[in-house]
Amino acid sequence: MIHSLFVINSSGDVFMEKHWKSVIHRSVCDYFFDAQRKVSSPEDIPPVIATPHHYLISIYRSQLFFVAITQSEAPPLFVIEFLHRVVDIIEDYFGDCTEFLIKEHYVVVYELLDEMLDNGFPLATESNILKELIKPPNILRTIANTVTGKSNLSHTLPTGQLSNIPWRRTGVKYTNNEAYFDVIEEVDAIIDKSGSVVFAEIQGYIDCCIKLSGMPDLSLTFINPRLFDDVSFHPCVRFRRWESERILSFVPPDGNFRLMSYHIGAQNVVAIPLYVKHSISFKETGGGRLDITIGPKQTMGKMVENVVVEIPMPKTVLNVTLTPTQGKYTFDPVSKNMVWEIGRIEAGKLPNIRGHISVQTGSSGPEANPIISIQFTISQLAVSGLKVNRLDMYGEKYKPFKGVKYLTKNGRFQVRT
């Protein structure tokens, strides 16, 4: 299974290594650097690299490379999933995953890694359990520890680890009992030149923040559960109930977690909340014009907000001189990225940007027109039409606060020009 882990920053320094079996010298990372040299951007490094004696399986997140080394035939997805889990846990503990933060909390990270994997086999990867074993740092506790000489480590066995519900710790107590659900839908779409949809799908998530005392047993029902094309659940969800009654029945972990993710697209028609009118043209003689208008469409009367338009311009473009009717734009002459931050789209006033593109003299028009990618959010709307019907709680007597929020935002939303 997983033999060693190296964490590498963007300038190519191995700033952390952890070995779960015998030590593998960090020179093994040279194979990784070789692969890195061959590609233009860090995202393009192949995730699985074979070397004469080892396999390097890597992920790229938060500008850091996490490179796992295996020696035997280990399932690569297993390793990739685990690495992502490591980053999730670090983010959960320290709020973010950066080189600075990891260095800041070296020993805790090292302890965490040691707790997460034993001999290459995952041991405890649930944040609930890890937090019982190794307390996340906070300023108060650090001060208290220094004064009293106590440590971050717990002396007791995490209670959840062996029960039938390993994701939940026992003895949870809150004065305010709350259960919040966020239904988040991301729209992935490719729209072609003429405005027709080449491909569209919705990737949805239900993230929860549950602070309930004791051992609550929840069931969540939807008004229209047939919408889903595919679902994947947190281990706490009872799959049989879902299969037979389409009810999400579960004993939740304590705190924040992702209850389910779902996928809509293949069979259902996906509503596209925005339309884009565009004309980008380059003349033979150099120079070109750009004119883009954005408008809402199928938003069920909800406001489209935080709209950002991003266009990676062709390499030959020197600069752009544009006038937006709303928001502001920036152009980075190095990466050739044009970003137009629009903000909210008001009804009846469609944001437009137009102007001139200057191109290197002597070069003819670029081979291809750029692709526009768009970011946006729409609050209080699940674009698929998904609606939570009700939430019931069994097993505990108190009445919790309940809340559901809906949010639609862009996934990879691309318009070809």
Binding site: I80, E111, F121, T142, L153, S261, H263
Partner: protein, 939 residues
């Protein structure tokens, strides 16, 4: 107060300073010091000098300090084995601690100390922990066994830990079960014995399935992977396991999903394709696979590599999902390329318009590699979906108009392939292609263009000028281009001999006299000689019809595909190579898909009897593509443009008859006729150096090989028993197909008609591939030959002797029965050449009692002759060694039912008796194989 402070030290002598802090009396100071040590260790600084001081801190009640010391120990014990012994006592004591957390921690750390001396002390505590009352300790101990095995395998076996581990498989706690499975699988993978440690039976499977529902996501992966090694006893059991596994497809962890897909794909193989269950399972598999594509890029990549296998095995699953494979511009390049590959695999007449529009879009992107592959993809679509060819060609022409250099070059390469697939259809575009001649600077594109000009020389008015322009820089060209130019000019000459004499002369002399590339020179000589001896033969050889290329060429070979399906989710599935090909020291038995099984009660199958079940896994997808054989004739046919690696030109394994005779005739020609030939350009009289004739002779020598050995016909059915019908026959094998050659003679007084044939069940499942063709009514005293192709998809029943085949022949008179023996070598497959390493491993792996020895007398051949004789009959020589003056040949053959036989042939010079040793897992075939050797070597 953060850990970063551990790295800032202003004073010199850091180690010294730490040492004094470690030995401090104050607990707090000690702990801080250990933390500093650990921090230095994590960034790779060497702090091993502090070993004794750190170990001294181990005896403490403070759990955090203990943990930190343990962390240190694991890292450095190896380099300080003597010091590490000091820690043993503490471990032993900690294993008795009332706190299970400490017991588990101790047993966990113990296993990580990779020091031989220490391991012996650890056996007792480990044994206790394996039986600990607390499951947390038990599950930790299970992993510890795997660790110990890694350090000292013998010790683990001697101490009986493996049995204890097996007991844990039926533990009441699912997490313990999962860890035991994980530990056993890892031990299994690394152990040399190769014997399976987890004995899979219905009961064990049931336990695992129960644990599956309750253990952690990682445990689920381990359990699913080991379930994949189980072969259910019938399709009912397979179905019920599948039903219990299907919920895993909805797991949030991608690794769990993919492992579940593996088990399902494997077990589905046991059920009929048309059963309701398989249909519904097929539907259920698509959504989770699609969902994997919405996750992180790395996950997508692994998923895509696996989907690539799945769509080849079961195209139905994802045939509706083409759109999810459309490329987004900010996908990483490795994802883009994989998506493209799958798009082509899914392309069909129904969706081709959409696919082409997308590919057209990709061809204008900025990433050069991706654009090239997109252009190639258009070509592959044209070859795959015939109806789309026209549209593909026009798309390619559009792309050529963009004048983007690499797009044009790539387009020309694929257009060449389209010409190969649809000859005489799109030649009208040649003129457009020729316009771009000057811009081509890549060898492959140049070679392709030259091939096109040569192939269609008669339609291109200025073909000679064009080729001449290439000839100017002949020596600077890449070999590929040189070879192609040579062939193209020869083709041109054969088509328009009058105007191009000078040109051909020029290229021949360039190739033979001024080049030091042996391939080029040889080919030059051969053409020269062909042209000078017999231009008609040259025409037949050079301008012979070429086999069409087909889409299947870029598919994985079916047996490999089946093996890879068993490895879904593993590294093998990412590399598309069997684990034996790349995992170090991996000699494990190859995995195979389980054969289709019919449950006893399935009525329709039972009643329909003889017709073979549709699509048996191994037979149905019998490679339709002929194995690539690098033979001389294929070469001459100018098929050597290195086709894009994904689709290699299929070359028939047997030279085409026409070309073959032509080449043979030439042998007789010799040098004399070369000199006297009138049609030869004048310059040729200067003739190739005589020494080369030896070379040519050698090359043609290849044409002399004895073909496949077909035994003489024997009388199978005497006229007396056949009411006047006499049948004599034999078996042979051509192009990978078994044929039954029969002569029917009518010794009766009346004509015979309506012949039909049927086989009884037999050992190899032989059955007629088509109905018996006997020409016209068979007149009295007449006789007629018939050749019946035979496949191996029929029902199987073991016969005595093994090669016995019972045949029934019917005609208008009566039904006759006879039996005959099938010579075993017609059952030897063309792909019976085992990889050297696999051979070695298999030879060792087969126990000695499965070896038999025979003596073959009176053989007067050298080792090489023996080898080539056997090779012609699909008995392949893998290696030849000379041991103490004896030649040893190591050979392998594979029978149609997948049985491998390994042979060692000992040949002593001067001794006419050979010694043959055979090894196989199925020894029943040995005597048959021996007879085959006798038969081949004595004929």
């Amino acid at each position: 107060m953060t850990d970063a402070k551990y790295f800032t030290t202003t004073k010199k002598g850091e180690i010294f300073e730490l040492k004094s802090e470690l030995n401090s009396d104050k607990k707090e100071k000690k702990k801080e010091a250990v933390k500093k040590v650990i921090a230095s260790m994590t960034v790779g600084k060497d702090v091993s000098a502090l070993f004794p001081d750190v170990v001294n801190c181990m005896q403490t009640d403070n759990l955090e300090l203990k943990k930190l010391v343990y962390l240190y120990l694991m890292n450095y014990a190896k380099s300080q084995p003597d010091m590490a012994i000091m820690a043993v006592n503490t471990f032993v004591k900690d294993c008795e601690d009332p706190n299970p957390l400490i017991r588990a921690l101790a047993v966990r750390t113990m296993g990580c100390i990779r020091v031989d001396k220490i391991t012996e002390y650890l056996c007792e505590p480990l044994r206790k922990c394996l039986k600990d009352e607390d499951p947390y300790v038990r599950k930790t101990a299970a992993v510890c066994v795997a660790k110990l095995h890694d350090i000292n395998a013998q010790l683990v076996e001697d101490q009986g830990f493996l049995d204890q581990l097996r007991d844990l498989l039926s533990d009441s706690n699912p997490m313990v079960v999962a860890n035991a499975v994980a530990a056993l699988s890892e031990i299994n993978e690394t152990s040399s014995s190769g014997q399976t440690l987890i004995e899979m039976n219905a009961q064990a499977v049931n336990k695992l399935l129960t644990a599956l529902n309750e253990c952690t996501e990682w445990g689920q992966v381990f359990i699913l992977d080991s379930l994949a090694n189980y072969t259910p006893k019938d399709d009912r059991e397979a179905q019920s396991i599948c039903e219990r596994i299907t919920p895993r497809l909805a797991h949030a962890n991608a690794a769990v999903v993919l492992s579940a897909v593996k088990v399902l794909m494997k077990f589905m193989e046991m059920m009929g394709n048309d059963t309701e269950f398989v249909t519904s399972l097929t539907k259920k598999l698509a959504p989770p696979l699609v969902t994997l594509l919405s996750s992180e890029a790395e996950t997508q990549y692994v998923a895509l590599r696996n989907i690539n296998l799945i769509v080849q095995k079961r195209p139905d699953i994802l045939k509706q999902e083409m759109k999810v494979f459309f490329v987004k511009y900010n996908d990483p390049i490795y994802v883009k390329l994989e998506k493209l590959d799958i798009m082509i695999r899914l392309a069909s007449q129904a969706n081709i318009a959409q696919v082409l529009a997308e590919l057209r879009e990709y061809a204008t992107e900025v990433d050069v590699d991706f654009v090239r592959k997109a252009v190639r993809a258009i070509g592959r679509c044209a070859i795959k979906v015939e109806q789309s060819a026209e549209r593909c060609v026009s798309t390619l022409l559009d792309l050529i108009q963009t004048k983007v250099n690499y797009v044009v070059q790539e387009a020309i390469v694929v257009i060449k392939d389209i010409f190969r697939k649809y000859p005489n259809k799109y030649e009208s575009i040649i003129s457009t292609l020729c316009e771009n001649l000057d811009t081509l600077d890549e060898p492959e594109a140049r070679a392709s263009m030259i091939w096109i000009i040569g192939e269609y020389a008669e339609r291109i008015d200025n073909a000679d000028e064009l080729l001449e322009s290439f000839l100017e820089g002949f020596h600077d060209e890449n070999t590929q281009v040189q070879l192609q130019l040579l062939t193209a000019i020869v083709k041109l000459f054969l088509k328009r001999p009058t105007e191009t004499q000078e040109l051909v002369q020029q290229v021949l002399s360039l190739a033979t006299q001024d080049s030091d590339n042996p391939d080029l020179r040889d080919r030059g000589f051969i053409y020269w000689r062909l042209l000078s001896t017999d231009p008609a033969a040259a025409k037949e050889v050079v301008l012979a019809e070429k086999p069409l290329i087909s889409e299947e060429t870029d598919l994985l070979e079916p047996t490999l595909l089946d093996e890879l399906i068993c490895h879904i989710g593993t590294l093998a599935s990412v590399y598309h190579k069997p684990p034996s090909a790349f995992v170090e020291g991996k000699t494990a038995v190859r995995k195979q898909l389980p054969p289709r099984q019919n449950s006893v009660g399935s009525a329709e199958e039972a009643s329909s009897g003889s017709p073979p079940a549709p699509g048996q896994p191994t037979d149905e997808q019998q490679p339709t593509v002929i194995p690539v054989a690098d033979n001389l004739i294929g070469d001459l046919l100018s098929l050597d443009i290195s086709a894009p690696s994904t689709y290699q030109a299929p070359i028939p394994s047997q030279p085409q008859p026409v070309a073959n005779t032509a080449a043979m005739d030439l042998l007789g020609g010799g040098l004399d006729s070369l000199l006297s030939d009138t049609s030869a350009p004048a310059g040729i009289t200067s003739a190739p150096p005589v020494s080369s004739s030896g070379l040519l002779g050698d090359i043609f020598g290849i044409g002399n090989v004895t073909p496949f050995y077909t035994p003489a016909k024997q009388v199978w059915l005497p006229a007396a028993r056949g009411k006047g019908l006499e049948i004599s026959g034999t078996f042979t094998r051509r192009n990978g197909q078994i044929y039954m050659e029969m002569t029917f003679s009518n010794k009766a007084m009346q004509a015979m008609t309506s012949f039909a044939i049927q086989f009884n069940k037999n050992s190899f499942g032989l059955s007629p591939a088509q109905s018996l063709q006997v020409q016209g009514p068979l007149q009295p005293n007449g006789s007629v030959d018939s050749s019946l192709p035979i496949n191996t998809k029929g029902p199987v029943q073991k016969m005595e002797p093994l090669t016995n085949l019972q045949v029934a022949i019917k005609n208008n008179v009566d039904v006759f029965y006879f039996s005959c023996l099938v010579p075993l070598h017609v059952l030897c497959m063309e792909d019976g050449m085992m990889d050297k390493r696999v051979f070695l491993a298999t030879w060792k792996d087969i126990p000695a009692q499965n070896e038999v020895q025979y003596t073959i007398e009176n053989v007067n051949y050298t080792a090489d002759q023996v080898s080539s004789k056997l090779q012609n009959n699909n008995i392949f020589t893998i290696a030849k060694r000379n041991v103490e003056g004896q030649d040893m040949l190591y050979q392998s053959l594979k029978l149609t039912n997948g049985i491998w036989v390994l042979a060692e042939l000992k040949i002593q010079p001067g001794n006419i008796n050979l010694i043959l040793s055979l090894k196989s897992r199925a020894m029943e075939v040995a005597s048959g194989v021996h007879q085959t050797f006798e038969l081949i070597l004595h004929n």
